[in-house]
Amino acid sequence: MSATPDELMVAAAAAELAGVRTVFVGIGLPNAAAILARRTVAPDLELIYESGVVGARPSRLPDSIGDPALVSGATATMSMHDLFAYFLQGGRIEVGMLGAAQVDRWGNLNTTVIGPYANPTVRLPGSGGACEIALNAARVIVVMSQSPRSFVERVDFVTSPGHRHPDGRPRPAWAGGGPDTVITQLGVYRFGTDGEMELAALHDGVRDADVDAASGWPILRRQPLETLNAPNPDTLSAIHSLSGAEREAAPS
């Protein structure tokens, strides 16, 4: 049984959460990854949802980040003000997980528009809490599909800031660590000390050339380049047990 691209990403993202205590969970694949991590490598992981839930213990994989199953049995609910102000902005989130339609080499994320803002080719959902998550979480893990349309030389719109703006502006001094890891169906990327994205590992069976073919700029390589093991059957069956109702919130 081989893993689908989504399953590869969920398994790799869950592995990144080993030992983490607090994760701010977005909709879609990050949600599946966080729930999987709590059931496997991070039993103490507190799932924190922007809808106002802390310590969710969902009995099912919710379609939405606001779901009654996230509330029943959680350790705390709170207003969005208190959650964003005191948890996220207050610096109490270790990992924020985000998706995106586009990313650039500095980890800037676009979930707003393809094309010009005033007259877009595709109107995407916008920030939601992503701009705040990108700036205030101690570190950010990005989970997204990779292609030349999504890994771009310059994002059409910076919704959620990475390590520096395309115009050269640096990340503000008060901000959290920013994007730390990008997980795609091809591999895992980290960021160098200057804030530029580097390929760190390939999924089992992915070739180096596949990465270049799916990127809009020449991506740096870390040496040695790792190869990730394929998800083991236990992990895959855990993902399957989660994913019955899961739909990714990618714009259609």
Partner: protein, 282 residues
């Protein structure tokens, strides 16, 4: 105006009644416009959206909203979630602005010149983003219960309901049920809004369907998914509005049309909170 309730307690009952009344030119504020504003936009109610996340959660796009944007018929004023939260907070607190740690390095301030910056008097250079107060003429919220004095109680997710309501000139609370004031006064911590700030209470069971009311009914995820093809096709959407909104008189008609099986399938099993003791002091 604003219909607030973050994923939970979205007053579709109010949205549908606004469509039935044929309102136009509304400025609609909401963090997540959700299906309720997709329907209102499709019905021609809206002139402008003030929002922070525009999608069908877990499914995809709001196609009627996208068509209206692409057709140039809908003005947008866009923030992040915390920016929208802050706009309501400032509105409720009679402040000109709300400061937040966001937007630095984002293109959102370029897209929305209402996002500004203020300098900190305590640390030179430590500028903070600010958003302006938002004071809706009317905020409509849905809640689990209220009493005849208008005291409104909610459990589970409260989102921005208190702030959006207290920022508004008038507040309408739509509730699942009316309870005796002694039920409210037995547990004052659960009160989201005291009656003194509530203009009107309407009792509409299942008034938040297809969103959910914690303990009363589940989110109708099948409906959210089924909305996608309807919303994609203007003809289907118009027919849906005729059948499910304009073609029925009120919310009771909608619930009847949903049918007892759908309603029953959404009902959760009980999970009691348990009771705490406030103590009787005399």
């Amino acid at each position: 105006m604003a219909i607030e309730g973050f994923t939970h307690l979205i007053s579709f009952a109010a949205g549908h009644e606004i469509i039935r009344q044929g309102r136009h030119n509304l400025t609609l504020a909401r963090l997540t416009p959700d299906l309720v504003y997709d329907q209102m936009v499709a019905a021609g109610c809206a002139r402008k959206l003030i929002f922070s996340w525009l999608g069908n959660p877990g499914v995809g796009s709001l196609h009627a909203v996208r068509r209206a944007i692409e057709g140039g018929g809908l003005e947008l004023e866009e923030y992040s979630h915390f920016g929208m939260v802050g706009r309501y907070v400032a509105g409720a607190a009679h402040l000109p602005f709300y400061p937040l740690r966001s937007y630095a390095g984002s293109d959102l301030p370029a897209a929305n010149p209402l996002i500004q910056w203020v300098a900190s008097p305590y640390a030179p250079g430590d500028d903070v983003a600010v958003v302006p107060a938002l004071n809706p003429d009317v905020t409509i919220i849905h809640a689990q219960r209220a009493d005849a004095e208008g005291n409104v109680q909610v459990w589970g997710l409260v989102g921005v309901q208190r702030e959006a309501a207290m920022a508004a000139e008038r507040v309408i609370a739509v509730v699942e049920e009316l309870v005796d004031t002694e039920v409210i006064r037995a547990d004052p911590d659960r009160t989201l809004l005291p009656g003194v700030v509530v203009t009107a209470v309407c009792i509409e069971p299942y008034g938040a369907h297809p969103s959910f009311a914690q303990g009363y009914y589940d989110r109708d995820n099948a409906f959210y998914r089924a909305w996608d093809p309807i919303s994609r096709d203007p003809g289907l959407l118009e027919a849906w509005l005729d059948e499910w909104v304009r073609g029925i008189r009120d919310r009771a008609g909608y619930v009847e049309k949903l049918g007892p099986e759908t309603v029953a399938a959404l009902r959760p099993k009980p999970r009691p909170s348990g009771s705490v003791d406030y103590g009787e002091y005399s």
